[in-house]
Amino acid sequence: MSPVDLARNILDATLQLGGRARAFTPETPLLGSIPELDSMAVVQIVTAIEEQLGVTVGDDEISADTFETLGALARFIEEKQG
């Protein structure tokens, strides 16, 4: 699964978007644009990434930039996949 697809799946399941995330492009804005994306959801997404990839995400790796767009989140996933 590509990082973009994984980002879509994780977003859709975590925010319960009911398939809406399938239409997201890398340019789709996230933080501030999707009401469901609150602080709890950010933590859930980071946790889902940790558990799906079997990696640990450090404090300093989580920033608002990571959640700016779908593409930014996918890049983050790609980096963590190594």
């Binding site: 699964m1 994984l6 799946n9 994780i10 399941a13 975590t14 925010l15 319960q16 933080l31 469901e36 609150d38 602080s39 709890m40 959801a41 950010v42 933590v43 859930q44 980071v46 946790t47 889902a48 558990e51 799906q52 079997g54 404090d59 300093d60 989580i62 920033s63 608002a64 959640f67």
Partner: protein, 271 residues
């Protein structure tokens, strides 16, 4: 059929809600080891759905409010890990007296850590385990909990890190996270706890269910390791991952019907 049950805890009244089947006596009792803080509120819908399915199979489900939570006595800020294991032991013992057999424990998230500590003290306290997305490492769990506060300050210039919050707790200062006052003593005890039950006293069946947000639906590496360790000890472990929302943390109350169905099916092997 719902009925409240009140028992005496060591520092106040403990309230449980019992979902009873129509037929009396019940085929057995299932006691819920609740998840932590807001995760419990988010899980209540799933617990009710499960309890209804279990009732059809003749089981009663006991959902306790631990000391300092829900309608039981005490304040969350004063609650201690020891109180909670003691609460769970008392609720298990009461269910056992009522049904004449050791209950099945349904441990949700960090409830698994609590279940583990109860079984360490008394391996006979429960006859089987159902685990929902069990937390196996208290330290990692607390870091994820503290992250909630960090996430709230994501867009601010002055960002708190999890490490800052841990330093405060280590120095003895309570930290408020998402409306819950986390006491240093509670934090210390959870950080030190691991999911590592002793060898089973009886048949020892375990239904281990993980909820995966995205495909592939597989057990996480950490869960595979813990489930393997349980099997080594003689537990009969049936572990699987189910696709669905992480209902204990979603913004809206979420349901994972497949988890309810799979858990109810697992009960048949635990009669």
């Amino acid at each position: 059929m719902l009925r409240p049950e009140v028992i005496e805890g060591r520092s106040g009244r403990l309230l449980s809600v019992v979902h009873a089947p129509g037929a009396v006596p019940a085929a057995g009792a299932i006691v819920v080891a609740p998840p932590f803080a807001e995760e419990m509120n988010k899980s209540r819908r799933m617990i009710t759905l499960f309890a209804q399915a279990a009732a059809q199979g003749g089981f009663e489900t006991v959902v306790p409010d631990l000391t300092g939570t829900g309608d039981s006595d005490g304040e969350f800020a004063d609650a201690r890990w020891d109180d909670w294991s003691d609460d769970l032991e008392r609720v298990l013992a009461a269910a056992r007296r009522r049904t004449g057999r050791a209950p099945i424990l349904l441990a949700i998230r960090s409830g698994a850590l609590l279940a583990s500590s109860v079984l360490e003290r008394d391996p006979y306290a429960a006859r089987a385990l159902l685990l929902w997305a069990p937390v196996t490492n208290g330290d990692r769990f607390m870091k994820q909990f503290l992250r909630l506060r960090m996430a709230a300050s994501l867009s601010q210039a002055q960002r708190e890190t999890v490490a800052d919050l841990e330093t405060a707790l280590r120095a003895g200062a309570p930290v408020e996270v998402a409306g819950y006052a986390l006491a240093p003593a509670l934090w210390t005890a959870i950080v030190a706890s691991k999911f590592a039950p002793p060898a089973p006293a009886g048949g020892g069946r375990v239904g281990w269910f993980e909820v995966a947000a995205a495909e592939p639906y597989e057990l996480s590496p950490a869960s595979q390791k813990s489930a393997g360790a349980l099997a080594q000890l003689g537990w009969q472990v049936d572990a699987s991952a189910i696709g669905g929302a992480a209902f204990w943390g979603t913004a809206e109350i979420a349901e994972v019907p497949e988890l309810v169905a799979a858990s109810a099916a697992a009960l048949d092997g635990m009669r």
